[in-house]
Each structure stands twice: as structure tokens, then as C-alpha cells.
């Protein structure tokens, strides 16, 4: 697969290729974030800045702490120490739902499709600021019917894009594993976030559709959305990311544009064990 040149790399002009590098316009800043489970230190990140308007990939071997780090950034889990700033807001003590309302929405590695709700209901749930979500206003449909129609229209457009239209009125519990991944990603976009955090969004998605969704994600970036995603598929990382952050054993060990990562000795050591001296073939599988 030939990697198209990314279009947002200019945002990283002058940023050094080193862990913890300061970005030109960071949307999210994590500092000294540490989380231990008993004796196991799952995340110990000295400093990370995520560039606004770019697609950043977070890669690393299994168990590196990527998902845990996601949980800490979105307040689904509390760090033992450290601070997170999103668009200048300190996230300490902020509920997870408020983080979403601030404009940072995440998906889950283990999908959370709402089984006994239809696909379209799953989607519409993502709409923010819904008048009909007040109990009293819910009793007067004329107060929210128009907004509901708008939300439904947007949901249908996204379903079309994610090739789920034919499942629109089925229970989400009847979807296949890959379809659930798609639904979850589409649902997150219903929130109209400034930043999406996708935990292995393409796991189990067929290659043809993957290609179309990658284009969609790039489109979102071009509209100004910031994307941070975890992915093991190096083709995808190479193709759409503007910047790659590598985690291993809870720490960030390398940062840089995708081209610089494959030959980075620390990354090779992390993936293949120390003292391996050939360049990591990130193109193959």
C-alpha cells in the first residue's frame, strides 16, 4: 500500500522528534500522569502534548498502557498523580460526562454498543444539548421534535458513510464485531467533538471499508477535528497519522512523524526486544 502524503504535517514544523516534545498548538497536555494497579505501574507519562488539528497515532506493544492512558485522559479513571489539561481546562475532578461535553469524546477498545437499542437510537443518543432529555420537556414532543429530526438526519448521513444504513432499525446487539466498532465510532462523531480518541477503531473492519473510513477521518481532520487513535495496524498508522507517539511499559519512548518511527532504536527494542539491530519493518503487516 502506498502511503499518501499527510496534509497536516506542517503543524509540526520545528517540533523535535523526542518524547515529551512541546507542540506548536497543543489541545491536550498531560503532565506527570501516573497510574499503578497494585505493584504494576501501567502508565507513567512524564509529558505529552497533542497537536490540535492533527491525527496522532498512539502505538505500542500489548499491555503498554495505551488504553489505561486513554482512560486517564478522559477521566474514566483517575491518575494517582499528574495533571491533564484539555483546551486549557484542568480535568482534575471533572466527571467523565463533562469531559465529553467539553468536546473530547472517546471510544472503547471493547465496544460498548447498546444492545437492546436500535442502531439509529444508538446514534441519536450521541446528539448533545438535546431539549428532550429533560423529563418535563420530554412530555411535550413539540418542544423537541424538530431537533430530533435534525439529529436523526445527521445520524442517517453518518450511518450511510459507515455502511450501516441497512441495519438502521435493527437492535445493535445483532451487529457483528466489526459493525459494532463502526457504530461506536460513528456514534462518537454524533457528539461533534473537537477531539476524538479512538481505541483500535479499525480492529476487525474489512480493508475496503477501512480505506473509506480512513479518508473520512482525514476529512474530519481537514475540518479541524483533532484525532488521537490507538492502532496496531501499521499500514493505517503510516497512512493517516501526522505524528506518532510510541508507548512501552507505561512510558512514552518515542515521538515523531511516521517515517522517523520505524528506524527508531528505542521503538525497535520495545517491539522486538533489546539488541535487535535491523530497522523495524512497519510496512509489513
Amino acid at each position: 500500500m502506498t502511503a499518501e502524503p499527510s496534509t497536516a504535517q506542517h503543524l509540526f514544523d520545528g517540533v523535535p522528534f523526542e518524547p515529551g516534545a512541546a507542540k506548536n498548538d497543543p489541545i491536550l497536555v498531560a503532565d506527570g500522569v501516573r497510574r499503578a494497579f497494585g505493584g504494576l505501574v501501567a502508565v507513567d507519562v512524564d509529558h505529552l502534548e497533542v497537536q490540535r488539528g492533527a491525527i496522532t497515532a498512539l502505538i505500542g506493544p500489548n499491555g503498554a498502557g495505551k488504553t489505561t492512558f486513554f482512560n486517564l485522559l478522559t477521566n474514566f479513571d483517575e491518575p494517582d498523580t499528574g495533571s491533564r489539561l484539555f483546551e486549557g481546562n484542568d480535568l482534575a475532578g471533572v466527571s467523565a460526562y463533562k469531559v465529553a461535553n467539553l468536546g473530547m469524546v472517546r471510544t472503547f477498545q471493547l465496544t460498548k454498543s447498546l444492545s437492546k437499542m436500535t442502531v439509529i437510537d444508538n446514534m441519536c443518543l450521541g446528539g448533545t444539548g438535546q431539549t428532550g432529555e429533560s423529563f418535563f420537556k420530554a412530555l411535550f414532543p413539540f418542544l423537541w421534535r424538530r431537533q430530533e429530526a435534525e439529529i436523526t438526519e445527521r445520524a442517517d448521513a453518518l450511518l450511510e458513510r459507515f455502511k450501516l444504513s441497512h441495519m438502521r432499525d435493527e437492535f445493535a446487539g445483532t451487529l457483528s464485531g466489526g459493525q459494532r466498532k463502526l457504530l461506536e465510532m460513528a456514534r462518537a462523531l454524533m457528539v461533534k467533538p473537537n477531539m476524538v480518541m479512538l481505541d483500535e477503531p479499525m480492529a476487525g473492519v474489512n480493508p475496503a471499508l477501512k480505506q473509506s473510513l480512513l479518508d473520512h477521518v482525514k476529512g474530519l481532520r481537514d475540518e479541524g477535528m483533532t484525532v488521537l487513535f490507538v492502532e496496531h495496524d501499521m499500514d493505517m498508522v503510516q497512512e493517516i497519522s501526522d505524528w506518532v507517539v510510541v508507548m512501552a511499559e507505561g512510558r512514552i519512548i518515542a515521538e515523531g512523524p511516521p517515517e522517523s518511527i520505524a528506524s527508531n532504536q528505542a521503538v525497535i527494542d520495545a517491539y522486538l526486544g533489546a539488541h535487535h539491530d535491523s530497522a523495524l519493518d512497519l510496512e509489513a503487516d
Binding site: 478522559t74 474514566f76 466527571s95 467523565a96 460526562y97 463533562k98 465529553a100 461535553n101 469524546v105 472517546r106 471510544t107 472503547f108 460498548k112 454498543s113 447498546l114 444492545s115 437492546k116 437499542m117 437510537d121 444508538n122 441519536c124 443518543l125 450521541g126 446528539g127 448533545t128 438535546q130 431539549t131 428532550g132 432529555e133 429533560s134 423529563f135 420537556k137 420530554a138 412530555l139 414532543p141 423537541w144 430530533e148 437492535f171 446487539g173 445483532t174 456514534r187 462518537a188 454524533m190 457528539v191
Partner: protein
């Protein structure tokens, strides 16, 4: 065999007072469990809140009936929901279950303690607090109405009960088709998913607890009004489980489920009561198998058997859908 009496009694169970109390209580549980996934094993305490809210307002505090309604339908249940919900709704579902069981038993035991006689009337409870309600009774106290099923005062209770029940059904039906209901269902399916989409799961669960609790309070209040008495024994844990039986029988997360369940439950209870009694009286069942005083117990055994069969052959309840049920296993 007096088939007329059998049919009449069954029909009365189907639509009469207990049907109303338990429909309302089960509608509340449906809000909690069916739509939001909250495990409330103490619906009796919400029912007691309705009964004691009214009766204490009138008898103990000397307020008028209308203040009693406000206290019983709104103030007491909301306070209860806050007391039980604030510490538990941030935690896993089991904690609410434990707290509701405990609260409902605590309330009952406290209410019957002799030292509180001045407030709650202890085990005798409070009586004669609903005179205002019966003052508005347009029916003749001496006459029978509705196919001769109800005498005047009963007819009045049942009529208002049906009206209130219809309003509650309408509220549930409307809200469950709205974005508000969609959030509740999402919380039932996966709270974290709802949170990740910006929904304040804690507050929605609290609302559900409050509103379902108010439905329960209405049920308890009708029970108190119908008998003009509020007693601790009316709110033992069995009451909670009757409401659960009605919900499971009818089918959770279906608007009409609790009503159908309560109707069938009390229809069957009344039918078996009269039917078995007549069998005994007419000598179809020998005394050695069952005598007249045992009929009461035997009919509950039959209900239990029926529930077991239901669990085996139709676990989704009468109105539930099998397809939906099957999604749990995927």
C-alpha cells in the same frame, strides 16, 4: 359450584383495588429496572412513603388532605430517593439493591415502634385521614356499581385509581419515546457508554429513582385511602415482591407490562381463591388433601408454580419479546 361468584371475583381481582396498587408500584419498578436497570428491592418503602406521607400529614400534623397529597406523592418519595440514591447510584447496581431492602425494613420497623406511637400510631397505624377524598364521592354509598362489583365508596377509589393509572401510563409512554427515555435505556445497557457521550448518568438514574418512587408512592397511597388506614404490616417485603412478580409476569421494559402482570396476578389469585374454596365446599376435594383454611396458602403455591413455568417457557414475560431477551447472550 357457583360459577357466577367465581367469575365475578376473578374479574374483580382483574380490575379492582389491589390491581391498582400493584400496577402503580410495578410501573415504578419498570421505570427503575425495566428502563434504567436499577435494582430496587424496596418498592414497599416508596409505597409506605405515599401512605404515611398522607396519613401523617393529616392525623399527626393536622394539615389538610391536599397538603397530605403533596407530602405523600412528592416530598416523602423524593427525600427517600435522595437518601437512598446519593450514596449508591455512583456505585455498582448491587448497592442500591441492598440499601433499598434495608430502607424498606427499617421504615417498617421504626414505624411500628411503640415510642413513636404519637407520630406513626405504631403497629395499629393511622386511620381516618381520607375523609376529604370520600367527601367528593359522587356515588351512592349504599348502591353497587360496575356489574355489581363495587359499592359506592369502592367505586370512587377504583375510578380515581383507574384515572391516575392511565395518567401514569401516559407519562411512561410519552417519556420512553423521548430522548429522556433513550438516555435511561442507554444507561441500562451501558452506563459508561452513556457517559462517554456526555450524559450525566448519575443524575438520570436519580431522576428515574425519584419518578419510579413517586409511582410507587401513589400505589401505597391508594392502598391507604382505600382502607382509610396506614399500617406497617401493609408494607412488608412481600409487597415489594408482589410488585416484582407483576412486572416480570407482564414483561419488563414494556409500557403495559406491569398492568397486565398485576391484572393477571390478582385475577388468578382471586380465581384460585374462590375456585378452590368451592371445590372444597362442594366435596370435590377431600378434606385430607386440603381444607377450607388452607386455600389461602395453596393459591400462592399455584402462583409460584405458574411463575416457574413462566421462567422456563416464557422468560421474557407475557409482553416481552424473545429476540430482545436473546441479545443478552451475545
Amino acid at each position: 359450584m357457583d360459577w357466577g361468584a367465581i367469575i365475578q371475583n376473578s374479574f374483580r381481582g382483574f380490575i379492582g383495588e389491589p390491581f391498582i396498587y400493584f400496577s402503580l408500584a410495578a410501573m415504578g419498578l419498570n421505570m427503575h429496572y425495566g428502563y434504567t436497570g436499577l435494582l430496587n428491592f424496596g418498592q414497599a418503602v416508596f409505597m409506605a412513603a405515599g401512605a404515611y406521607g398522607l396519613s401523617m400529614a393529616v392525623v399527626t400534623l393536622g394539615l389538610n388532605f391536599w397538603w397530605g397529597l403533596l407530602l405523600g406523592i412528592v416530598v416523602f418519595p423524593l427525600l427517600l430517593a435522595l437518601i437512598m440514591g446519593v450514596p449508591t447510584l455512583r456505585l455498582r447496581a448491587d448497592y442500591l439493591a441492598i440499601v433499598t431492602i434495608a430502607a424498606s425494613e427499617m421504615f417498617r420497623i421504626i414505624a411500628r415502634s411503640p415510642s413513636l406511637d404519637r407520630w406513626t400510631g405504631s403497629s395499629d397505624g393511622l386511620t381516618a385521614f381520607a375523609n376529604t377524598f370520600y367527601d367528593f364521592n359522587p356515588f351512592d354509598k349504599q348502591k353497587r356499581y360496575f356489574f355489581g362489583l363495587f359499592i359506592g365508596n369502592q367505586m370512587w377509589v377504583v375510578l380515581i385509581g383507574w384515572i391516575v393509572l392511565s395518567i401514569v401510563v401516559l407519562i411512561v409512554w410519552m417519556t420512553m419515546r423521548s430522548p429522556w427515555g433513550r438516555v435511561l435505556r442507554a444507561i441500562r445497557e451501558d452506563e459508561d457508554a452513556a457517559r462517554s457521550l456526555g450524559k450525566n448518568a448519575y443524575w438520570f438514574k436519580m431522576q428515574s429513582l425519584m419518578i419510579g418512587g413517586m409511582f410507587g408512592a401513589l400505589g401505597g397511597m391508594f392502598r391507604a385511602i382505600g382502607t382509610q388506614s396506614a399500617q406497617p404490616q401493609n408494607f412488608i417485603t412481600d409487597v415489594t415482591f408482589f410488585a416484582w412478580v407483576a412486572l416480570i409476569l407482564g414483561g419488563a421494559a414494556k409500557v403495559g407490562g406491569p398492568i397486565a402482570g398485576a391484572a393477571i396476578l390478582y385475577g388468578i389469585l382471586n380465581f384460585t381463591d374462590v375456585f378452590l374454596r368451592q371445590l372444597v365446599e362442594n366435596g370435590y376435594v377431600p378434606e385430607s388433601v386440603m381444607d377450607g383454611t388452607q386455600v389461602g396458602q395453596v393459591r400462592f403455591m399455584l402462583i409460584g408454580l405458574g411463575l416457574i413455568l413462566l421462567a422456563i417457557y416464557r422468560p421474557q414475560g407475557i409482553f416481552g419479546t424473545k429476540e430482545e431477551m436473546a441479545l443478552d447472550d451475545r
